[in-house]
Amino acid sequence: MRRCSAGLAAAIGALVLIGQQSDPAAQRIQQGGDLTIGAVIALTGNANLYGQDQRLGINLAQRWFDGRPRTAGSPAPPRLRLQLEDGGSDEATAIAGFNLLINGGALALIGPTLSQQAFAADPIAQRLGVPVVAPSNTAQGIPQIGHYISRVSAQSSVIAPLSLEEALRRDPSIRRVAVFYAQDDAYSTAETEIFQEALAARNLNPVTVQRTQLADNDFQTPITAALQRNPQLVVISVQAVAGGNLIRQLRELGYRGQIVVGNGLNTPNIYPICQRWCDGILIAQAYSPDLDTPINRTFLRLHQGVNPEQPPSQMTAQAFTAYQVLAEAITRLQQQGRLQGANLGQARSRLMQELLSGSYDTPLGPIRFRADGEVLQDRFFVAEVRMQPDGRRGRFALVRDLSLASKPATSPPERGSP
């Protein structure tokens, strides 16, 4: 009996030892070794359009970080290794990507692309104490998943109403508003609520609300119904390609009024879809290529090297920012010697503290974080799409630069020409 008990105890001991050794959080950080930043973004599925913009942003940030000039006598920067996993466009693939990277020893994670993926995957990182920086999750409640979860993408509720204000400023006589949104998309339904609340606050009740589906691209029927109500303003919350088609078909079917669109259309990828019909649509943005700061100029230069045809999208800028804030926080940690002798779990915890306490000069403008991981960004922009005569290329021309910390800029800076 005693021999049996001793054998059992030895077996349990061996299992505990093996378990400890295989737990990546217990592994000691190697001095001068690579530190892995994992990224889980949508490279396949419906959201891959955004994922490709994000991959570009992360790669540009990596290039920027690795190519930064070193001042003489300063310590060597940390060696960061990027590991990119496809998060698909669904929750299960995002969870699998998170698990893979966490178990592979990633110090921190960037992603996932969609808010509804984040609600599924972020709790895993939170439970295991792995810092997450979301580059594009704008739904309410993401940072509140836990103290390891943060984001650099400002909430829709902050940004979306700004473009509405601009449309009403241009035409205060607007009374008849038509609303379109994709009812099977968490982001679109959340955003349309914000738009509709902003309309209600101005005593504007939509004359029609047209619900579409995420995969819809033929909008003849809902547009026909909406146009029968003679709207003066159309407000759209759908994803990029569907939105491009919706705008094109609205114009083709004779709508001439103003169009305000949400964050889903915040990508130059809509230009080839709605072509010359994109001209004039209004959108509020968390990023403007017209922002004249050194880091944004660097970002634009790097982007132009890869894609000289188009300025970067907000998604690309936010993904760049996500990598940048992590890289800068890790650098500070290393310079303070706080990674020395730490195991991965301790390093992750210290990184999260450092990340939240820092302030960052990014292509989005200066940002910092609230204690709960919510981004604090002061500058937002309202842009108008201006298409070139060929109808294939265009730009988000800045019409208002708004500082929410102070009063909005008074006169719209008109830059460039259509």
Partner: protein
């Protein structure tokens, strides 16, 4: 009145495309008794081929950024060539995903999986080559056509009218060919009873290949038509149409050509009739119709009741 006409036209245009996809399924199902799940991918391929043949270029995130064919064909020629390309690829799918299993008398269920695999590979290859961006055909693709036409007070995009007319013409031609030509009759004979058809000297394998060629061409045509109408939203866009076509196939009656046409039109019209404020529930309605029809007529609208001999 004009609202009703508008609704009918919208529904008929959508239904025409569904009928094209369903006809593709029907042809293969009637000769092999299996469903070719790669049909949706061939639909996507048709759209992209039409785009490239019209002089379109690959975007920066594609496998060959900026690349394009050195030709820019008019829409009609591009559409026909794209249909031919999709037909050839459909034949390849038959060779790779169906023929080996058929030779070994494998369970028909297995070819569902191999065709699904072939479709997924094809869509992923498209994504690798073309990137994930949406592509729209150039604004002047349908030179000479106004953007909108007025019919009895209803305003409809002229591309929708064109789409409806082409779908109707293709369906009519295919029906005439199946009913009146030697090849069509041979195909129907194989569909009816492959063993007897073989005894009558009909090359069943050739008919299977013909069915795949035709179904691929129909998918390619559908993809090109939808592409010029509402753009190419990404490599996966054909999968949605494929699923809708599958619904129409079951709704109309498995293996029934008139059923595929009737089912497609019914589905398109039913979707268009959904009240505008609830248009987001269209898919739910489509499957509710399917559910009700199958409860009342398990063999579909125009399908034949299958009697199993024991």
């Amino acid at each position: 009145m004009d609202v009703l006409l508008q609704t009918l036209l919208n529904g008929a245009a959508a239904g025409g495309v569904y009928a094209l996809v369903a006809l593709g399924y029907t042809l293969v199902f009637s000769v092999l008794g299996v469903i070719n799940f790669a049909q949706g991918a061939l639909f996507s391929l048709g759209g992209y081929l039409t785009y490239l043949l019209m002089g379109g270029h690959i975007s920066v995130s594609g496998g060959l950024p900026g690349w394009g064919l050195p030709i820019a064909l008019p829409f009609a020629a591009a559409l026909l060539l794209a249909a031919a390309g999709a037909a050839l690829l459909s034949l390849l799918v038959e060779r790779l995903a169906f023929a080996p299993l058929r030779r070994r008398n494998a369970e028909p269920l297995l070819s569902l999986i191999t065709s699904l695999g072939a479709g997924l590979v094809l869509v992923n290859l498209l994504q690798l080559l073309m990137g994930a961006e949406g592509y729209a055909f150039p604004a002047g693709s349908l030179a000479g056509l106004p953007a909108v036409v007025s019919l009895g007070g209803a305003r409809i995009r002229s591309v929708q009218v064109l789409l409806l007319l082409i779908c109707a013409a293709v369906v009519l031609l295919l029906t005439l060919w199946l009913e009146g030509s030697r090849g069509g009759r041979a195909l129907r004979a194989v569909a009816e009873d492959p063993t007897t058809a073989r005894l009558l000297g009909i090359d069943s394998d050739a008919m299977v290949r013909l069915a795949f060629l035709l179904s691929g061409a129909l998918a390619g045509l559908g993809g090109g038509l939808v592409g010029v109408s509402v753009s190419l939203p990404g490599p996966y866009f054909g999968i949605g149409y494929g699923l809708k076509g599958l619904t129409v196939l079951v709704l109309g009656g498995l293996g029934s050509v008139p059923g595929a046409i009737a089912g497609g039109l019914l589905m398109g019209l039913a979707e268009a009739m959904v009240p505008s404020g609830a248009s987001g529930w269209r898919d739910a309605l489509a499957f509710a119709i399917l559910f009700v029809v199958l409860l009342l007529r398990p063999s579909g609208l125009l399908g034949r009741r299958l009697v199993e001999k024991v």
